[in-house]
């Protein structure tokens, strides 16, 4: 408010997560996040510590009462929430228990409160009822008010933000993001990072807007500045003028309406304006995720990651255990395709009973198909389970980390062995299912014409393909910004796979982050990807984007795009041609 005279500044970045928000900036400096400290309180001082807690609660209550008194008639609804908060301040489960912890464990009030809240919150967060689950936020809110009085008002930190803010940072590591109370955050702006960075993924999961790769956001934005974040166009406006604010508010409302429309239309097929039908599928890891996938309108499972059954237990799962797991998923999916990726154990998901020797470079080591071919007995167990499950639905097998044709041939031989042994035992199975290759190693892409002879489909795994092609570990914050899906090399590889597949008469699918970006949908479809698979939350938006597209004449645009030389130029090109359509999505899709 006090900065009315300040000049409006527009910063350009990369859209990390769609949506529009207006709010106050909260800068995270490089020291990152400070957390509540724990210290021991000597017995003699415990009554004083309890007193300190009681005073903090009383002050929080007085502050709340002042807010209630000041609230005008027309905001009665809001006051009811505050009155609930008043009661919560003295609720036995928070108040009495915190005092018990201070006295019983001889710890400071802040720590005791934090401990009690972390015990009570999950009781609500784990409830099946939406309404009750959201009460966890009331608890956070009340605890924050007490905490503020315990620590002293001016000492605000990231783990205890008492108002809804937009986080502005150079970069946020997964560790930092994990300490933020994400329900407090309206949006994200970071200097570095891109569409595939951890913060973007978090933002998309939470469905809050994010703009990444702004470059100098932390220099141009000050704490408490009013800023606008538009994750669809990748822009940030600092010190917006009144006109900009009004216009943005209008666009934000439009966006919310469209989002609601999208959710309602997510069960309709994803058909472009010129009549091309695309399957929009979901990636899952746990059988339980199938429900979310169907709720969001998924046409099938494009990637069923099977590692979890191996990682969640001390020994190897049995064939029957795996079969039951797969069958559970297949039964829910009915006739829709279920693409089961064979075991892809790798560096960051090291199974504790396999650690035979530590590898210096696990991403390039014995993982996925390499591991399975080395341990045919373990692979056989999974293959038998998959073939048995395939008798009950529409199953495909997807082989990960293929780098050459020999691996495909060996895997197919083992699948045949599995089928033969099932036949001998007289168990129900189905060998007549599509076997596909995950295109994630550059050598596989380059030899796609050779691989196509043995494959029924290709599925491009963009996360690893980008990592291996650009030699970038996106978990490494120093190079994460180089993880660029739109790098000309990546687009050439995708085009290569699609061209070969078309020539050989097999379909090309895509799973991975890239498939979930609505802005990328036109070029992916234009290049010839027939099926996109993504995290279930992204399905409605992508379906909506596809419905709003007219791909007549896309070949010319793709030819033009393929001549561009940098990821940034390609990003701008896409924004220019499709940004408007994608931000406006739903409008075109819903009126038919």
């Amino acid at each position: 408010m006090e900065d009315q005279e300040s000049q409006e500044i527009i910063l350009k970045g990369i859209g990390g997560s769609p949506g529009i928000c207006i709010g106050k900036a909260y800068l995270v400096d490089k020291e990152g996040v400070d957390v509540v400290k724990q210290y021991i309180v000597r017995k003699a001082f415990l009554p004083a510590e309890v007193g300190r807690f009681k005073t903090a609660v009383r002050k929080a209550g007085e502050a709340l009462q002042r807010v209630i008194d000041k609230t005008p008639e027309e905001l009665r609804q809001h006051v009811q929430i505050l009155e609930t908060h008043m009661l919560l301040l003295k609720d036995k489960m928070l108040y009495d228990r915190t005092i018990e912890v201070i006295e019983g464990e001889h710890v400071n009030a802040e720590w005791a409160l934090k401990k009690v809240v972390s015990q009570v919150k999950p009781m609500f967060e784990n409830m099946s009822n939406d309404y009750l689950r959201q009460r966890a936020e009331d608890i956070t809110h009340v605890a924050d008010r007490i905490m503020e009085n315990l620590v002293g008002g001016e000492h605000v930190n990231i783990a205890r933000i008492d108002k809804r803010v937009i986080l502005v940072a150079r970069d946020l590591s997964p560790a930092e993001t994990s300490q933020i109370q994400l329900e407090r955050i309206k949006g994200f702006v970071t200097n570095r990072g891109g569409h595939a960075s951890h913060t973007s993924i978090i933002a998309r999961t939470l469905e809050i807007p994010a703009v990444m790769g702004v470059g100098n956001a932390t220099l141009k934005i000050n704490n408490d500045d009013i800023i606008i974040v538009d994750g669809g166009t990748g822009t940030v406006v600092v010190h917006p003028t009144e006109q900009t604010l009004l216009a943005t508010e209008e666009r934000r409302e439009q966006y919310e309406i469209r989002k609601a429309q999208m959710a309602r239309t997510s069960h309709l097929p994803a058909k472009t304006q010129n009549g091309q039908l695309i399957s929009v599928m979901g990636n899952i890891e746990l059988p339980e995720e199938v429900v979310a996938l169907l709720d969001h309108g998924g046409d099938g499972i494009g990637l069923y990651r099977t590692e979890f059954q191996y990682l969640s237990r001390p020994d190897f799962p049995s064939e029957n255990g795996l079969f039951e797991n797969y069958k559970d998923v297949i039964d829910v999916m009915g006739n829709r395709p279920v693409t089961i990726r064979t075991l892809d154990i790798n560096g960051d998901k090291a199974v504790n009973y396999i650690h035979e020797n530590q590898e210096a470079n696990p991403a390039l080591g014995l993982r996925a198909i390499r591991y399975c071919l080395r341990k045919p007995d373990i692979f056989q167990t999974q293959l038998r389970a998959i073939l048995r499950a395939a008798a009950h639905g529409n199953v495909r097998i997807l082989l990960p980390m293929i780098s050459g044709i020999e691996e495909v041939e060996k895997a197919i031989a083992l699948i045949d062995d599995a089928a033969e042994s099932l036949e001998k035992q007289g168990l129900a199975y189905n060998r007549d299912i599509p076997i596909g290759i995950m295109m994630e190693v550059p050598s596989a892409v380059v030899t796609a014409d050779i691989l196509a002879e043995k494959a029924d489909f290709f599925s491009i795994g963009t996360n690893d393909l980008i990592q291996y092609t650009l030699a970038v570990d996106r978990g490494n914050r120093h190079v994460a910004h180089l993880h660029q899906p739109l790098h000309p090399a990546i687009l050439r590889l995708i085009k290569g796979v699609c061209d070969v597949a078309r020539e050989k008469g097999i379909p090309t699918y895509m799973c991975g982050e890239m498939a979930a970006a609505p802005l990328f949908a036109p070029i992916l479809l234009g290049l010839g990807v027939e099926e996109l698979s993504m995290n279930p939350q992204a399905i409605p938006v992508v379906k909506s984007a596809i419905r709003s597209l007219n791909l007549a004449g896309i070949d010319t645009l793709i030819a033009e795009m393929m001549r561009l030389t940098t990821a940034r130029a390609i990003q701008d090109f896409l924004t220019q041609h499709f940004g408007e359509a994608v931000t406006r999505l739903g409008a075109a899709g819903s009126d038919q």
């Binding site: 929430i81 609930t84 009661l87 919560l88 609720d91 489960m93 099946s128």
Partner: protein
Amino acid sequence: MKAAQTITLRIVNALGLHARSAAQLAKLAAQAKGGVWIDKNGNRADATSLLDILTLACPQGTEVTVSIDDEADMETLEQMAALIRSGFGE
């Protein structure tokens, strides 16, 4: 110590025991001298704690038993029962 008293009844309001209705119950229960409890399917909540009541998760149609430890709190018990029967005035 006098004998405990209980009343069993159904939640009739559409929203069930949500924050506002639970708060009204907790306020009433706070007036009691002895313990006041709400039971649902063998789970017991302290009726003076709004949070504890919410953790019972009682949608419309749930059968709950309200009980008091001390007969002297009979009036509180009856007020709470009346409030539940009235659907919390929704």
